[in-house]
Amino acid sequence: MHELSVAQCVVDEACKAAAKEGAARVTKLWLRIGALAGIVEEALRFCFDVAAEGTACQGAALEIERVDLSVMCENCRQPRTLAERFLFVCPECGSPTPEILAGQELELVSLEITADAAADS
């Protein structure tokens, strides 16, 4: 359950950035998570709600963009997207493809922030 550590970092970074802007609350967060980052989305969502409790991120929506694993095939001189099984061979020519172009991301892309302290209740 390393997703709890990741969620804790998301909340910490978001709260820090929001406070710097003088915002009282974070209402939405956009994340980019690579296929190879080893994150189970459901687990991250669950952990985020736990980590966000009592912070400026409480109740915020989580938008997660998944990034496919893509590699460079030196033989074809083409970027290739690999399937979820993560076999590092070119799907076209079968050459080994050690060079990763994308798919390791663990990024906090942006936040939606507001100065209003409470939700619309």
Partner: protein
């Protein structure tokens, strides 16, 4: 006030990455070569490290920190080698983070220490994203785990700089297929060096120790070159 969008484009594990970078710089300054040893539970990390520390203690200074959820058993086993050893108890945490390593080594003087081994928590998933400032990430796969372990846990294996196939003394008993395992490792981490080792019989230990010493020397040379280049550019300016 209308809600507004704040662009961040920051790494989620930024804090850990920064700390790891600081640790890496400190390790380089002290001249210590650092290994992050990862594996599933029961792959033989502690047995391998105990033997490795004992072998290195003739001629080198080596230290180890070891992470477990509970008990100090592993630290006690490693301390028998005579090396400095510290246990990190993670409670429920499934991996080590840079902060824990920094805390564990805070009261050590590692200046002049040759090797620092960080034995991660036994887990083949969670340690992958946490940089500990290591020079080399070593992944152990025991012959008793079967040939398809690399295919089942590609995310961690893909971050390994070296794979050790451990417990080779048991290979015949479990009808272990070396060729199939090597093929599977290369499928998920093309080009990674692989060594076969048995901490029990000592088979393969020489190759493993030679690999460590070579990598450490290479790091020292890089560090010396970088430093003399920095000195040269300073004296020129």
């Amino acid at each position: 006030m209308q809600p507004r969008i704040l662009e961040l484009r920051t790494k989620i594990l930024k804090k850990n990455d920064e700390l790891a970078r600081q640790l890496r710089a400190e390790f380089a300054r002290w001249g210590v070569f650092v290994l992050n040893v990862v594996a599933g539970p029961g792959a033989g990390k502690t047995e391998l490290l105990a033997r490795t520390l004992s072998c290195l203690n003739a001629g080198y200074r080596a230290a180890a920190v070891v992470g477990d959820l509970a008990t100090e058993n592993d630290a006690a086993r490693l301390a028998a080698s005579g090396s400095d050893v510290k246990q990190i108890l993670t409670g429920t945490m499934c991996h080590l983070e840079a902060e824990m390593v920094r805390g564990a080594i805070a009261d050590w003087d590692l200046n002049g220490c040759d090797f620092l081994f960080i034995e991660n928590v036994g887990n083949l998933v969670c340690p992958s994203s946490w940089d500990l400032g290591e020079d080399l990430r070593v992944l152990l796969c025991a012959v008793t785990e079967g040939e398809d372990k690399p295919l089942k846990y590609p995310t961690l294996i893909n971050t390994a700089d070296l794979v050790l196939i451990s417990k080779t003394d048991l290979a015949a008993a479990v009808e272990f297929d070396v060729a199939a395992t090597l093929k599977n490792i290369q499928l998920v981490r093309p080009g990674v060096p692989v060594l076969l080792v048995s901490a029990k019989t000592g088979q393969g230990m020489d190759d493993w120790l030679a690999f460590l010493k070579l990598r450490r020397e290479e790091k020292q040379q890089r560090w010396n070159t970088d430093n003399s280049a920095a000195r040269d550019s300073k004296s020129l300016s």
